[in-house]
Assembly symmetry: none
């Protein structure tokens, strides 16, 4: 019997290598060979497992989004307070894991990919809807009809900070980003309180 069960291992290795290479070079113009080499195998094997470069990129994108989604879910587990939950989502966006420069750089490139690839766009839309509905869900009890606009602003802030991180802006840490977005949330919520 042959060596068996390599597929998931290889796929995982390729996906990781793809993210790393896209992140490192900051472009989707990485060759399958580069990625495969980084993952320790031949480009032929990469094609064997993914069928095409596009499929590999989409898998990489799914991995990034899933990782993000998982982190959000586990952050939310057990939290009941609305504001608490909102801050947890924001925290997940800028967590150690998700806010690594190369992951964020890959993220930026996936935005670009989404202009070309309908499937990539779909993935991004799903992710965005989920983020949005999470935020609106917890904002509505606090600020009512202003919830959707505020959610949109939070999402935009996050994306904007991601761009800065992708550009390796100095002095931009996850903590600073969280602080910035949180402060926006505070002011948005407090506004409601005022007469």
């Amino acid at each position: 019997m042959p060596k068996i069960g390599m597929e998931p291992i290889r796929r995982r290795a390729l996906v990781d290598a793809a993210i790393a290479e896209i992140g490192r070079t900051g472009t989707l113009d990485v060759t399958v060979s580069q990625i495969a080499r980084k993952a320790g195998m031949s480009s032929a094997l990469a094609h064997h497992y993914f069928g095409s470069k596009d499929q590999m990129f989409l898998s990489a994108m799914r991995a990034v989004l899933n990782s993000f989604g998982t982190e959000v879910c586990s952050s939310l587990r057990g939290l009941a307070g609305h504001k608490e939950r909102i801050l947890a989502v924001i925290g997940a966006c800028f967590s150690e894991q998700n806010f690594r420069p190369e992951v964020v750089a890959a993220w930026l490139n996936f935005y670009v990919l989404a202009q070309t690839s309908p499937e990539a766009r779909r993935l991004l839309t799903v992710y965005y809807r989920r983020l949005n509905s999470n935020l609106v869900h917890d904002l509505r009890p606090l600020i009512g009809t202003r919830a959707p606009g505020t959610a949109r602003a939070i999402a935009a802030l996050i994306d904007g900070l991601y761009i800065r991180q992708a550009l390796r802006e100095e002095n931009l840490t996850g903590a600073a980003s969280v602080a910035l977005v949180s402060s926006y949330v505070e002011s948005a919520l407090s506004q409601e309180a005022r007469p």
Copy 2:
């Protein structure tokens, strides 16, 4: 008689075509031939004028940033009130001209280019510094030490909304974007007012 003074015309045509094609396809993966064809000339001529594809892209980027800079300047002319000036800058970001989907899509791709090309990064940094210093200059008198953070947030909001526009998000107009960012500015300023 030789055609004289064609150079600026040709260059302009190529730059416009480059922006249009990058915006239309949503990717930097456009060929020189495509761009040259759209500009009504041969790809050889494009090389003649720009030396290389990269230089052409950089010129296109400069054009976009200049167009933006010019618009900001003319918006600011004659305005004295700090808040007024801040809102003018924001308005320029989402003006008819600058917020066209294809321009914004090109913009997003220039962010990506900046990861690879030091010159592109330099251009972006210059632009960003100018935007930032404009904002800080007018925020400081109003909110003091909170000015830098707020400026950063405004810039991030703008970039985040640009990404949404690049993705052709429905119901996202320049006016709505201005409203969203302005509302953030309002709340940031009003916060100061509180004891």
Copy 3:
């Protein structure tokens, strides 16, 4: 207990699958994997049994030629009349079994293979010589020196009709083909009869 005697079964399955795939696609550009999959095994096993793709194709060719040879032999068994025997050979060429479109398409491709592979050419030559000698043997007593030319014409007619069948020409049945060739034979023989 080890499966015993699998070899001939596997080989037969592969040969059949090869003929079917070549016939189906109408080209030698079928992959070993395709054939192996159709035969219900891995491509590695196909190599195990045949050593190489070329050998597999040659075996497939041998199978087709053998099947044909066997059918001719059994058709001729017990037949004594010269004309009767000639018609029997012709009948075998267009029998249900041999004139199936996919077999004929494979046949056409074996002609092509024979241009490249000496062994394939040898097989085809052997088959052709046998067909020819069969025909000449029975034609000579009937038409003397005109036998070789007539045999060649009969063979050419058969090949020509095979090409039509490979192209899936409509209204071309085995029976119609037999009729056409037989009619030629009739006229060739009757010519002799004339003064």
Copy 4:
């Protein structure tokens, strides 16, 4: 001004080289590079002019069929006698030009191509229909209802002899082939004459 008007020259050179290479190797498995090298240029240029390998092959096929068609036309010019015209068509099939082994080998491969490529099949069908209608047109006045069957037989004979030629059968000359087919025509016509 650039060197101009190379396109038809290059295309012709490539088509000739394609026919020669397909004929020489007896297979469609020739690479674009091989063909381009033989035609004295880079494979990139071949793609520039033909867009794809398939298109190049189709052009080669068209060239072969056109050459044939032209020769038939010029052979028929001025001939009025039905039998005379039939023999002229047959003569064209086996002319010095058309019956060159490599052309015939290419021809055989085009039959194979026609199994895969609808356009190739279309070309072949057109050619075949024209040949057939030429023959029937001149046979009908001579043998009435037997014309279609006889035409089909003549076409099959020609194709069969082409296969032999593609296999480089010894002692098979154009003249011998003409003789063989002509003799069939004679016997087919004389049959009618008999009571």
